[in-house]
Symmetry: C2
Subunit: 873 residues, 2 copies
């Protein structure tokens, strides 16, 4: 097995083997771009590395040595050479981009000898020692785990002693002294000398990069982005070029189109006399790329040409890293650029219209999960008029958010667990903050640009972010920020607009955003392509309307119990539950009937004949009972009972495991009159609409079925009541009766149940709970640990577990279709709006998915992508 490929050999070997960065470098070398030479150690080697106990082995070292010898030949430089030393960068590069998540080491190859070679060669000793001190710090931190702050402290002390304001004030001699101090620090911390042998430096750096694949923030990032944990990373060793060799040097990042809105314009930033890390970390605020045209017109022209080549070559918007070394342009990296969903849609539509890609390709270009960013709220314009911006930063990630200020990731996380909307305010963010960023409703940083960590990560998450808001003087330690004299303390309300960069004091309510023409065009392509229908889960006319607006083609789950909770009816519901006799219960039910009928009339009217699946009462009855003494007082008086009696009756309904208790159609076996009332309400509503000229075919859904005999018993109760209504009214409507498949037994016996049911709707929430034996209410206590330890790749409540739960679904689909070739099949768990799960539903041959209204566009796109992928196979 070959472990190491030079960039010249790598073209066409692909990202799976070489990682994204390595494959792109090889590709760029292949199309003749000026890329610093180097080689890639493969992702397969990474697996081997873990198998062999996380140490390099002799054969691998041999291959690295050979590749290095070739690199020395090509560059004419030598590792550790006193006159013309070779320096390299060592970077991670996974098959899927994980920006900033893994380790990078620059300037490797410097030691006490080669630093002089670099000084001689560049005729710039200050530069050489600056590189050396950076390298010592970076190596110590990234490879050896010594905290960077200890090095920063030395630097700060020197600057203070000398009354310097910036690093640029440091002289050659200062830097030489600092290098000595840094090496002493290294020895003190690690008990050994700083390694002088460049090849040892390289071996250690390669090990560090491989190990960084499994650092905690990388694991969190992969979980968040559905990236499998078993891909592994490649290691790229590349000869260094220097953006910090003076004013004709620089380094930058650029996008071939605007990653925030998709506009067809170059977009990027660069720093003069700097290395790449200065741009990415946000430590210095860079210049816009346009400034390069003035600074170095020739270089700018060349760069524009290369950007076009790269976009055309990859047929997608590119994110390009470049370095200018004394007027000479090097391309360090290119990759498909991260973008907001707005940009993704606009670029996809533009590229179709430019003839560069097909509609199908366009559909695959937008991450379905990101679509709900579009639906993220913006500030209510009326409320906004009453607020003046307090400050303005960079519009780093669109959307608006309002919440309380917290200054650490931990505090944000804790606030979220308390149900508090939190805005994370930081000087700048780093990968350590990632969990706080996930928990926050919005992010504000006082430093950093549009490509800073905060900006890139927030865009990826579709989270509102204002970056580089320098009016904010953030004191993280004391948990306070100052804008002028105004102190903004932990817990204060702040509202931020990531689309404009404006920041407001106080709480501003938000409203939904309006979507663009390009979005409409894109979604029309999506709807042309998909086979799966998309419905919404909606319990109210308002939700139903929302769902229709977002493209729903029906209601897949209308939960009737939500109607029971409304204030004007909960009292009757309680009376019904606490009744001692069927007669008492019937009196209460008769009152509830009127409410329920009107609920269905309203929803059916909104849906105008589109299919509506109504689920009969599902939760355990004790959920409806009074909790407070005051509520109990009311019901006791109404029912002429003592509070003690009410409490006693309520207690008798308590359960050890309500999830597995007396609920669903089990209620109908013990209290058939409840379902009879509900079905009467449904049919009366349908008859009322029929009189209005709207044809409704109610789909009546029995929850929690485990057995054919059980389903038949309940169905007979329903049919008897429906027939009675028809007889009373002298009119009929068509209807169907089906069931949720949400217990493993229901799925296992789908053939028997399917022979008497008109439809199945997979309730994958409960099915997941029972298949795993995980209570959703309790499992967070251990599920986080399962994810953190890499035992599970994904939370099965978020992404359908195709391996286990999915097997039951597939089994039930197969059996159900054999038993009843006309059976309608849907899914109405939360998975119905999760792209991977939607793709599964498509493959499994379901008729529709149903999800919350806001996820309808996601489901539509995911369904289309599934159809396109199927076609491509």
């Amino acid at each position: 097995m070959k472990n190491v490929y030079s960039f010249k050999e790598g073209k066409g070997l692909g990202k799976a083997l070489l990682g994204g960065k390595g494959a792109n470098l090889a590709e760029m070398v292949g199309i003749g771009l000026n890329v610093p030479q180097g080689f890639t150690i493969t992702t397969k080697t990474c697996h081997l590395f873990y198998e062999k106990g996380q140490k390099l082995w002799d054969e691998l070292k041999q291959e690295v040595n050979e590749a290095l010898a070739n690199l020395e030949k090509e560059t004419g430089k030598k590792f550790g050479d006193p006159t013309n030393p070779l320096l390299v960068s060592v970077r991670s590069g996974a098959p899927v981009s994980m920006p900033g998540m893994m380790d990078t080491i620059l300037n490797l190859g410097l030691n006490d000898v080669s630093v002089q070679g670099l000084a001689t060669k560049t005729n710039n000793p200050r530069f050489a020692y600056d590189c050396y001190r950076r390298f010592i710090q970076m190596f110590s931190n990234v490879v050896m785990g010594v905290s960077s702050s200890k090095f920063e402290a030395i630097l700060d002390r020197v600057k203070e002693e000398k009354h310097y304001t910036t690093d640029l004030d440091l002289t050659e001699q200062d830097l030489k002294n600092i290098v000595v101090e840094f090496k002493e620090l290294y020895k003190k911390e690690l008990g050994e000398e700083f390694p002088q042998e460049p090849i040892q430096q390289l071996y250690l750096a390669i090990e560090a990069v491989f190990k960084s694949w499994n650092n905690p923030r990388a694991i969190v990032y992969r979980n968040l982005n559905d990236i499998p944990h078993n891909l592994g990373t490649a290691v790229n060793v590349q000869s260094m070029v220097f953006g910090n060799m003076g004013d004709k040097s620089g380094t930058g990042v650029a996008f071939t189109r605007n990653p925030a809105n998709g506009d067809k314009q170059f977009f990027g930033e660069y720093l003069i006399n700097a290395q790449g890390e200065d741009v990415v970390s946000g430590a210095r605020t860079p210049k816009p790329i346009a400034a390069l045209e003035q600074d170095q017109p020739e270089v700018y022209k060349e760069f524009v040409r290369i950007m076009q080549i790269l976009e055309d070559h990859y047929r997608d918007m590119q994110d390009i890293e470049f370095t200018i070394e004394e007027g000479k342009l090097f391309i360090l990296q290119t990759r498909s650029g991260k973008r907001t969903v707005t940009a993704a849609i606009n670029i996809a539509v533009d590229m179709v219209e430019e003839g560069k890609i097909s509609k199908e390709e366009a559909i695959l270009r937008v991450d379905a999960k990101q679509l709900d960013q579009l639906l993220h709220p913006s500030f209510d314009p009326k409320a906004l008029k009453e607020h003046k911006p307090l400050a303005k930063g960079l519009p780093a990630s669109p959307g608006a958010a309002s919440g309380r200020v917290y200054f650490t990731a931990e505090d944000v996380k804790a606030a979220k667990e308390q149900g508090v909307d939190a805005i994370l305010v930081r000087l700048e963010t780093s990968p350590e903050d990632i969990e706080g960023m996930i928990s926050a409703v919005g992010i504000l940083t006082s430093r950093g640009g549009m490509t800073s960590h905060a900006a890139v990560v927030a865009r990826g998450m579709g989270k509102c972010c204002v970056a580089g808001c320098s009016d904010f003087k953030v004191d993280e330690e004391n948990k306070v920020a100052y804008v002028g004299d105004l102190a903004i303390k932990e817990g204060d309300f702040l509202s931020i607009d990531g689309t404009t960069g404006n920041v407001y004091l106080g709480h501003i309510p938000t409203v939904d955003t309006i979507v663009s023409d390009k979005y409409a065009k894109f979604m029309s392509w999506v709807d042309e392509v998909r086979r799966l229908k998309v419905r919404a889960n909606a319990d109210t006319p308002k939700d139903a309307k929302q769902a229709l607006n977002l493209g729903a083609e029906g209601i897949g789950l209308c939960r009737t119990e939500h109607m029971f909770f409304a204030e004007d009816r909960i009292l009757e519901v309680r009376k019904m539950i606490l009744s001692n006799t069927v007669e008492e219960r019937q009196v209460a039910l008769d009152k509830i009937l009127g409410f329920q009928k009107q609920d269905f009339v309203d929803i059916f009217r909104v849906m105008q004949g589109l299919p509506v699946t109504v689920r009969l009462l599902d939760p355990p009855l004790h959920e409806f009972l009074p909790k407070t003494d005051a509520e109990m007082q009311v019901i006791a008086k109404e029912m002429n009972l003592t509070i003690e009696e009410i409490k006693r009756r309520a207690e008798s309904l308590e359960e050890f495991n309500p999830m597995l208790g007396h609920r669903g159609c089990r209620l109908a076996v013990t209290f058939p009159e409840i379902y009879a009332m509900q079905v009467r309400a449904i049919i009366l509503a349908a008859l009322e609409l029929k009189a209005e000229g709207i044809d409704v075919t109610p789909e009546i859904m029995i929850p929690l079925t485990v057995d054919k005999a059980e389903f038949t018993y309940v169905k007979n109760v329903l049919v008897k009541e429906i027939d009675a209504v028809f007889t009373e009214k002298g009119v009929t409507v068509p209807y169907t009766i089906g069931t949720m498949i949400e217990t493993p037994r229901g799925a296992l016996l789908a053939d028997e149940i399917g022979s008497v049911a008109d439809f199945f709707s997979f309730g994958t929430n409960d099915l997941t709970q029972m298949t795993y034996g995980f209570s959703r209410d309790d499992s967070h206590k251990f599920l986080d640990e399962y994810l953190a330890k890499g035992i599970f790749e994904k939370d099965p409540f978020q992404v359908l577990d195709q391996n286990g739960v999915g097997k039951l679904v597939e089994h039930a689909v197969k059996l159900g279709q054999v038993a009843n070739p006309n059976i309608k099949l849907g899914i109405c768990g939360e998975h119905g709006g999760e792209p991977n799960s939607v793709e599964f539903c498509h493959r499994t041959g379901l008729t529709y998915v149903s999800c919350s209204p806001f996820r309808v566009p996601i489901a539509r796109l995911a369904a289309a992508q599934a159809a396109v992928k199927e076609k491509l196979q």
Copy 2:
């Protein structure tokens, strides 16, 4: 389709079609016995009857009419004839015997005309009117639903007016008057005249018998005895013979061997001048069958001859009903006799030794479920010495019981629900009492013989029963019984011995019974035949010893949490759980380690190298926490915390659905140190025994696995700790690591999990809970209703649901064996001791079943029966 078969046509058509009674009557006619002629309406007709809305239809009536005409021809009698009337009995007869559960009507055909014919023909008008009044009462009650007590009231009033002591004192005229009153009562109750047309009487009676298939007590009986609800009953119409025609007449029931102990001696009872119902109901206490030899020697001789013929013909002990009509013997019915398990074993062994049946047949002759009767306790002889019998009744069903007295079935049921052992004391029992009989630990009746309802049902249940204990004057209404002057009130302690018939006041402790040589021989045949191994669930050395004595071949489930509850260690367990740090927890665990190790040493020593499967900690941690303030005080003081802190920590462990919560191997993912301690204890114990020369191969079982990665994570924790112990001690022992399969997902992914597990043990309790979504702790609230409404045939927690849960087991077995051909497969839920479920385990190819020690003999026999049945197929 032919619905009606005369007894002459029926031979060989089988029980499924004709029911047990009908098939036997046809069989007896076929072998030339003197059976009153008649015909059988089939069980298939019963299904049709239900399909057609529970009414007879014309074609069927036609067939009945024809069969009746033939019967008239054969008997020379005519329906409703004024001189020589045909009277018939109409009886149910299901494919499986359900004594007393369905309806019977005798003397049908009597009306105002034919009663005179009967009087003339028999020259006994008193007899004829006695028959007529009995018929009116029975028809009114059984067919038309009028309460018998209303008729009894008339009878009692007449007897009181005339100062009669028994029915026999009633004169012809009394009876004629009573008939008039009875008919008036009928008209008053039902608004129409008593039907005078015999054919109408017959139609109504046939309908009543078909309907009685689904009366509540029949359903309860079928549920209790695992009889499918879809068999249906046949109806037998048979010409009446009369045991109540004077002193040369009589009726009785006899067994060809003793049904209580299996002794090879005729055993039975008869009543002179009586009809069969008088024997069965226990209303009069009959004479032993031996008395017939004196009363009518010729008849006795003939009966003995026939009994031998029948036993030889059926090759089994027979239960025979006969009637003597004026010196002429008729056989009314024969069937395999119900018997105690002792009798079943003894008869089976005797018949093998008599050369009548094979060992395999013998094995099938004993109802495995009944085997635990053998293990029912008898009184502790020492304690018994201190008690003198208070009274003596008939030893109707063996075993001893001690409990509080209750006088109604409802009270017994309620007492049982409160956890109180109850003795049901009744004048006599009736089918309405069946649920109370199930709930009682023992039954005492003051009336009735060895074949009374109480005796027959109690023997079937294996429940201790003393019948006909006439010293008890039972006042059911006032809930008191008197023995002489002594009043025994509700709640008083009583102890009864169903083996001797002795009754004692007060509570007498019981001990296990010792089994006989024949039992040992029988079980040795059982063990020769079976393929399934039988292990026991045992957590203590005492249980382990018990299990060994009962024939267990290992421990299939040793629950370690039970060890945590012992008083001397629960405090350390609580400290461990309430620890805030890994270090604190480790200190507590180190203390628990010593206890656990000794537990395993003791158990391993008892088992002497037989396999022991140890399940690591399974329940949620909050189960171990203090509940009372006093307990909290102790732990708070120990841990130097406030009660509030203890409460707060305890609350943080509370769960909504603990069944689906943080338990099983999930504990090991979050607190690996707990399992590490347990496995260290197991291995240290095995090493200690190795030093003693006993080779133990611990089988370490991980509970609640859902995923291969999860299993692997936990297994690695265990292996690391085990290796550490081996290194410390410098000695090793072999061991295996396997898992419970008790979540649906575990079963679905059994191929993946099986590839890394040494064994599977199906935890069918939890698997049933999750597959159905039924919490065992809560489901009784609705499950009773499912059974009562016939939606479920059986409680899936008692009998393994082969249709649903069983599919998962079969699936997992198949996948597990492919992934790991050497995998050991067992079951350790409560189903492991239930015969149907054991048969399923045999068919599915498991290695062993494991059940509670007392069920081990049942499992052994059920496993043997499964093997025999397989061979027969």
